[in-house]
C-alpha cells in the first residue's frame, strides 16, 4: 500500500473515497497484524511489568463497579503501607478495556478480559494510523496523510510500546495524543468553540490515560504563545484556546490522581499564563480596534508587559510560599540528564529513563529520521498556523527523545508526519508530468494562502526552489522514484525485522536458540510465580526488588512490599537495605515488615543479564540515600574499584543478603569443576576448587524454591527460634548434628571457660 500514492494524480487533492477507505483499512490491518508477532510466537499473555498492574486493575474494575474502583485501597501492595490505587492511577486504560469488555458482553460475545487487554494496543494502533492520516491531511494533502498513516502503523518506535500484550497506558495514549492535536489544529483553523470543546474532551481522556498529558498541556500553550509572538493573534486562536483551556482544565481536575495539580504545579502554570495573556491580548486588540491611537497602543503594550512581569513574579512568589508545587525531580531530569543520577537514583535506575543512544533513532524510525528534517523544512516553507504547531512539536519531541529512551514514543508520530510530508512532496514533484510552469503556479497558490508577515520569507524560499535544472527528464524521475521505492521497501523490511526481533518478546517468557536452531522457551518466571500461588498462604508477604512487584501481584497474587509504582522511596530503600546488609541486620527489618518469602532473580547459571546482582548497585545506592552511615556503595567495590563477585569480592559484598541468596549452593551445581557465573563471567568461590572458601551459609532464611534455570530463587524467612537462640547458634547446632552425629563441644574448663561463664544474668 506504500506504492499506492503513486497511482494518485499528484494534482488531485482528493483521493477517491472508496480507494482511501480501502487503503486506510489495509494500513490498519498491517498495523494490527505486525503487532501480533508476540501472540503468534508465544501466546496471548500480558508483557513486562507495568502491564501486569494495569491488567490486575482492569480485572478489579471488571469484577467490581466503577466507584469501588475509584475508591480502591490496595492492601496487597506496598505492605504495610498499602496504596490508594484508585486515586494514584490513570484510569483511562482500564476504563477503556472495561467498556470494550462490557459492550462485547452486551453483544453476547464472551471474551476473556485478558484477550481484551492483550489486543487493545494493536487495535488502538489502527486508530492511531487513522488519526495521523487526518492530522497530516490537515497539514498537506490526502496522499501525505495516507503515507503518514502507513508510517505510523509500522514504525518500530511506536510498535515498541504497542505490541499485543503490551497493555500499558501508552497503548491508547498515542492515539489520544494525535487525536487531541488533530482536534486542536481543527479548532484553531475553524475558530470554533465546538471543536475547542472536542479538543478539551479528548484532552480529558488523555489526562485520564497517561501522565504524558503534560506534554499536551505545555505544547498547546507554547503554540498559542508562538502564534501571538509571531503577530498571528486572531479571534480563532482566542476561541479555540479559551474553550480548550477552561473546559480541559476543569475536566482534567476530575481525575483523582491529577486533582488540583493543574492550578498548583509548575508544570501547568504555562497553560494558565498563556490563558491570561490571551485575555490581555484579546482585550488590547478589542481596545485597539475601538481607539486606534498610537499612544494608547504603546500604553497597552506597556501594560501587557507589566502584567506579564507581575504574573511571573506572582508565580515565583507563590512557588516559594508553597502554594504552587515546585518542579518535580522528574521534570528536572528532563533538562539535566545527570540530575536524576545524583539526586533521585530511583528514577535513574530505570533503564528506559536513560538518555537515548544515537543508533536507536535509526533503529526506531529507519529512513524517516533523515526525511524528518526535510519535512520540517518543507513545513517552514508554508508556515500556516498548524505548521507552526508541528514545528514546535518536532523541536520539543526531538529534545525529549534525546533525553529519555522512552520518549522516543512521543517523537515517532511527528517523525512519521514530517517524513510523510517530505516524501509526498517528492512524489508530488516527481510524478507530476506537467511542465515547470505548473510548479511555479503551485508555489504561487501556496503563496496566496499565506498571510502577510511571512510572505517575504516565502518569496526567498520560492526563489531557491524554482531554478531546477535537468530534473524534469524522465530519467531523473525514474532514478529518484526508484530509489525512494527501494527505500520504502527497506523501511518495511526493517520495521518488520525490528518488530519481530526486538519488540515482540513478552520478557515474562524468554526464548533462546538451541544449537540446532530450534527455539527453547525459558519459563522460569511463571514457574516461580505459580509456585508462590500454589504453595504459600494467601496472605504471605513477598519481598523482592521493586521491578518484580507488579508481576508478583499479577501472576502470583501475593502481597508485595514494593512494586513498580515506586511512590515511596523510603520503603524501596528499606528493601534495598535488607538486600544489601548482613543477615543479622536485615532479619529485624524482615520481621518488622512481616516478610514471609524473599524472591531474587539470578541469571548466573543461564546468562540472564537482567538479574538482581546486576541491579544490586541500585539497591545499594537507593539504600545509601536514606542510611548513608549503614550502607555504603564503596564497600561493595574492590579497592581497585571493580564490581566483583568472585574470590576478590569485598567482605561487605560477600556477607550481603543478596549475594548470599544469589549464590547459595551455586557451586554445588558444578561438581568438581569451577563454578562460573555466566553473566559477570567470574569464578564463584567454591570449597571444591578452593580450599579456603567456605560454602555460603544462610541462617535466617531457608531456600524454598529455585526455578528450573535458577532464574528465580525464593527463600522463606525463618521464624524466631523457639528456644530464644539466635539463628546462627541454632543453625550451628543443626549443622553440627548433620555432620558428625554427635559433636560435643568441650565443656568449659580452665580460665577461659570461667571467663565464658561470667556472661550471666543480673
Amino acid at each position: 500500500m506504500i506504492v499506492l500514492p503513486l497511482s494518485i494524480p499528484p494534482s488531485a487533492g482528493q483521493t477517491l473515497p472508496l480507494l482511501r477507505t480501502v487503503i486506510l483499512l489495509t494500513i490498519a490491518g498491517a498495523a494490527i497484524s505486525s503487532r501480533l508477532f508476540s501472540v503468534a510466537r508465544f501466546e496471548s499473555i500480558i508483557h513486562e511489568f507495568d502491564p501486569w498492574f494495569n491488567f490486575r486493575a482492569t480485572k478489579y474494575l471488571v469484577s467490581h463497579d466503577f466507584y469501588s474502583f475509584l475508591d480502591w485501597f490496595d492492601d496487597r501492595t506496598w505492605y504495610p503501607l498499602g496504596r490508594v490505587t484508585g486515586g494514584t492511577l490513570y484510569p483511562g486504560l482500564m476504563v477503556t478495556s472495561a467498556l470494550i469488555y462490557h459492550s462485547l458482553k452486551a453483544l453476547t460475545l464472551p471474551v476473556d478480559i485478558r484477550n481484551v487487554c492483550v489486543m487493545l494496543a494493536p487495535v488502538f494502533s489502527g486508530l492511531t494510523a487513522y488519526v495521523t492520516y487526518l492530522f497530516t491531511t490537515e497539514l498537506k494533502s490526502d496522499s501525505a496523510g495516507l503515507l503518514a498513516a502507513a508510517f505510523i502503523g509500522i514504525a518500530p518506535g511506536y510498535i515498541s510500546r504497542s505490541v499485543a500484550g503490551s497493555y500499558d497506558n501508552e497503548a491508547i495514549a498515542i492515539f489520544l495524543l494525535m487525536l487531541t492535536f488533530y482536534l486542536w489544529i481543527k479548532a484553531l483553523k475553524l475558530g470554533s468553540s465546538f471543536w475547542g470543546a472536542l479538543t478539551a474532551l479528548f484532552y480529558f481522556y488523555m489526562v485520564a490515560a497517561w501522565g504524558g498529558y503534560v506534554f499536551i498541556t505545555n505544547i498547546i500553550p507554547l503554540h498559542a504563545l508562538v502564534l501571538i509572538v509571531m503577530g498571528r493573534y486572531s479571534n480563532r486562536l482566542y476561541v479555540a484556546y479559551s474553550s480548550w483551556y477552561s473546559l480541559g482544565t476543569l475536566a482534567s481536575m476530575q481525575i483523582p490522581f491529577v486533582g488540583f495539580l493543574p492550578i498548583r504545579s509548575s508544570e501547568h502554570m504555562g497553560a494558565l499564563g498563556v490563558f491570561g495573556l490571551l485575555q490581555l491580548v484579546g482585550f488590547s486588540q478589542y481596545v485597539r480596534a475601538r481607539l486606534p491611537s498610537r499612544q494608547f497602543k504603546v500604553l497597552v503594550t506597556v501594560a501587557t508587559v507589566g502584567l506579564l512581569a507581575l504574573g511571573a513574579f506572582a508565580v515565583v512568589g507563590l512557588t516559594f510560599a508553597g502554594v504552587i508545587a515546585p518542579w518535580t525531580g522528574r521534570f528536572y531530569s528532563l533538562w539535566d540528564t545527570g540530575y536524576a543520577k545524583i539526586h533521585i537514583p530511583i528514577i535513574a535506575s530505570v533503564s528506559e529513563h536513560q538518555p537515548t543512544a544515537w543508533p536507536s533513532f535509526f533503529f526506531d524510525t529507519h529512513m524517516l529520521i533523515w526525511l524528518f528534517p526535510a519535512g520540517v523544512y518543507l513545513l517552514f516553507q508554508q508556515l500556516r498556523d498548524e505548521h507552526v504547531f508541528v514545528i514546535i512539536y518536532a523541536i520539543l519531541g526531538s529534545y525529549f527523545a534525546g533525553v529519555m529512551v522512552r520518549l522516543m514514543l512521543t517523537l515517532t508520530p511527528v517523525v512519521c508526519i514530517c517524513g510523510a510530508v517530505a516524501l509526498s512532496t517528492i512524489f508530488d514533484q516527481y510524478t507530476n508530468l506537467a511542465t515547470p510552469e505548473s510548479t511555479r503556479e503551485d508555489s504561487q497558490d501556496v503563496k496566496d494562502t499565506k498571510e502577510e508577515p511571512s510572505s517575504s520569507l516565502l518569496n526567498i524560499n520560492a526563489l531557491t526552489r524554482t531554478p531546477v535544472i535537468g530534473i524534469f527528464s524522465p530519467w531523473s524521475r525514474v532514478v529518484v522514484m526508484g530509489s525512494f521505492l527501494v527505500y520504502l521497501y527497506m523501511f518495511v523490511q526493517h520495521c518488520t525485522w525490528v518488530t519481530s526481533n526486538a519488540y515482540s518478546s513478552p520478557s515474562v517468557v524468554l526464548a533462546s536458540q538451541l544449537p540446532d536452531g530450534s527455539t527453547h522457551i525459558i519459563d522460569d518466571f511463571r514457574e516461580a510465580y505459580y509456585w508462590l500461588r500454589k504453595n504459600t498462604p494467601e496472605d504471605a508477604k513477598i519481598m523482592s526488588w521493586w521491578d518484580y512487584g507488579y508481576q508478583i501481584g499479577g501472576m502470583a497474587d501475593r502481597t508485595t512490599l514494593v512494586d513498580n509504582n515506586t511512590w515511596n522511596n523510603t520503603h524501596i530503600a528499606t528493601v534495598g537495605k535488607a538486600m544489601s546488609s548482613r543477615e543479622e541486620v536485615s532479619y529485624p527489618i524482615l520481621r518488622k515488615h512481616d516478610v514471609d518469602y524473599i524472591l531474587v532473580i539470578f541469571g548466573g547459571l543461564i546468562g540472564y543479564s537482567g538479574d538482581d546482582m546486576n541491579k544490586f548497585l541500585w539497591m545499594v545506592r537507593i539504600a545509601e540515600g536514606i542510611w548513608p552511615d549503614e550502607v555504603q556503595e564503596r564497600n561493595f567495590f574492590t579497592p581497585r574499584g571493580e564490581y566483583r563477585v568472585d574470590e576478590q569480592a569485598t567482605p561487605t559484598m560477600r556477607n550481603s543478603m543478596m549475594y548470599k541468596m544469589s549464590y547459595y549452593r551455586f557451586p554445588d551445581l558444578f561438581g568438581r569443576q569451577e563454578a562460573r557465573d555466566r553473566v559477570r563471567n567470574q569464578r564463584i568461590p567454591s570449597p571444591v576448587t578452593d580450599s579456603s572458601a567456605a560454602p555460603i551459609q544462610l541462617n535466617t532464611v531457608q531456600e524454598a524454591f529455585t526455578s528450573e534455570n535458577w532464574i528465580v530463587r525464593i527463600y522463606k524467612v525463618k521464624d524466631l527460634d523457639i528456644f530464644g537462640r539466635d539463628h546462627a547458634a541454632a543453625m550451628a547446632f543443626e549443622e553440627g548434628k548433620k555432620k558428625g552425629g554427635r559433636t560435643i563441644r568441650a565443656p568449659p574448663s580452665g580460665g577461659h571457660a570461667k571467663g565464658k561463664a561470667r556472661v550471666l544474668r543480673v
Partner: protein
Amino acid sequence: MAHFGRRIMQLFSLALVALVSVATALSTSGSKLLVVLDPSIKKQDYSIFFDDLKGRDFDLDFRAANDPNLSLVSFGERAYDQVILTLPPTQKALGPNLLAKPLLEFMTSGGNILVLLNPTGHALGSVREFARELGIHLPFRDTKLVDHFHYDAATSPELHDTVILDPATDLVAVPHLEVDSTKKILYSGSGFALDNNHLLFPILRASDTAYVYDPAEELLESDAPFVSGTQAYVVAGIQARNNARAVIIASSSMLSDEAFNAADSANRELAAGITKWTFQETGVIKLKSVAHKLANTVEENPQIYRVKQDIIYEAEISEWIDDKWVPFVADDVQLEFTMLDPYYRLNLTAVGVSGDSEVYATTFKAPDQHGVFTFNLNYKRTGLSYIDDKRTVTLRHFGHNEFLRSFEIPNAYPYITSLVVVVVAWMLFIVLWVFSGPEKAPEKKTQ
C-alpha cells in the same frame, strides 16, 4: 505371638488409662509422664515425689535410659506429654532417643521436660548440650555447691555441701510457686550458670556466700570458682515460644524422701510447685477469643476499616486453676495497633466475665493513616504462658462520597455565596447584553 497379644493388651489398657486420665488431668498439656530413671537412683528413695505426681493424676511410665523400646515419638506424634529425666553418676550414654536434638524436638512439639541432674554434678554430653541450647551452662563433674555460712550441720559438718537455701531470699518470684518462707530448702549438689537467653528465668538461686568447686582439687586462690554467689543457680526454667516448658534442677537429691522429711523442709512444697509449673498445671493462660468490630455494629472481624472510625477490640482470656478454666484477671493487658510502629498502645480493661473467661476490651478511634494495621496482643509475663496474637486489618482512606458536602461545612459559605453571586450576575449580564445592545455593529466580541 503371646508376647504380641500381651503387648496389644498393654497398649489398649494404656490408651484406656490415657483417655480416662485426660478427662481428669490436672495438667493442660496431658498426663502421659515418662520417667527416665537411672538404675543408680532408687525409686523408693523418691517415693513421696513420685506418689505426689501420681496423686495429681499423672500416668507415670518408668523406663531405663537404655530401654530399646523407649522413644519420645511414635508415628510422628509425641508419645508422652511430660518427661522427667534423671542422670547417671558416671559417664554413660543415654541412648539415641535422649540426645539433645530429640529432646529439643520433643519440646518443639509441645512436650515439657524436667531434668534432674545427678547429685554428683555429672552431666552427660547430650544433656549438657541440651542445656546449653537453652542457655544453661552445667557444671563440671564432681563439683559441689558449698556455702560456709548456710549449711546443714547435721549432714555435712565438714564439707558444708548440704546447703540451706532460704525461700524468702533465694527463691525468685514465679507465679503460683509459693513456699512457706519460714521453712528452709535443703540442697546438696552442684550449681549451674545461666546465659543471656531472655526466655530463660531462674527459679532458685544460691545465696551470696555460696560457690561451686571441685572438692577433689584444691582450689587455688588465683582460681575463680566455676560460679559463685547469687549467680549460681540450682533450679532454672525456660518457656519456649510455643509455651513448652523445661526446668533443670541441679541435683535430684533435692527431691528425695530424705530431703522431704527433714525438719522444716520446704522441699516438698517447692518440688510440687516446680513440677506443677513444668507440667503446665499452673501459670497457664490462654486467649480464648479475639474479636474486633466497628462501634455500633454487629459484624465481627471485618477485613477492612476506614480511617477515623471507632473500633472496638475484645479479647477473652482464661487461666487454668486446679482443674478448670477460670477468668484471668490482670490490669496490665495491652493492645498495640501497629503499622511498622505502634500507633496506639492501649490498656485493655476488664469489662466482665463471659463463661470461663475474662473479657478485656477497649474502644479507640482508628488513626488518620491508611495502611495495613495489626492488632497485636502481646502478653508475656514471667511464668505465664505467652499470648501473642496478631490480626491484620486494612484501614482504607475516605471514599469519594464520604467527605462532608460543601453545604455542610460552615466555612464554605463564603465560597458558595460567591459562586451563586457570579452565576446570577452572569445571567443578569447576559439578559442585559441581549436586550439592551445597540442595533448596529453587533459583529464584535460575540464570537
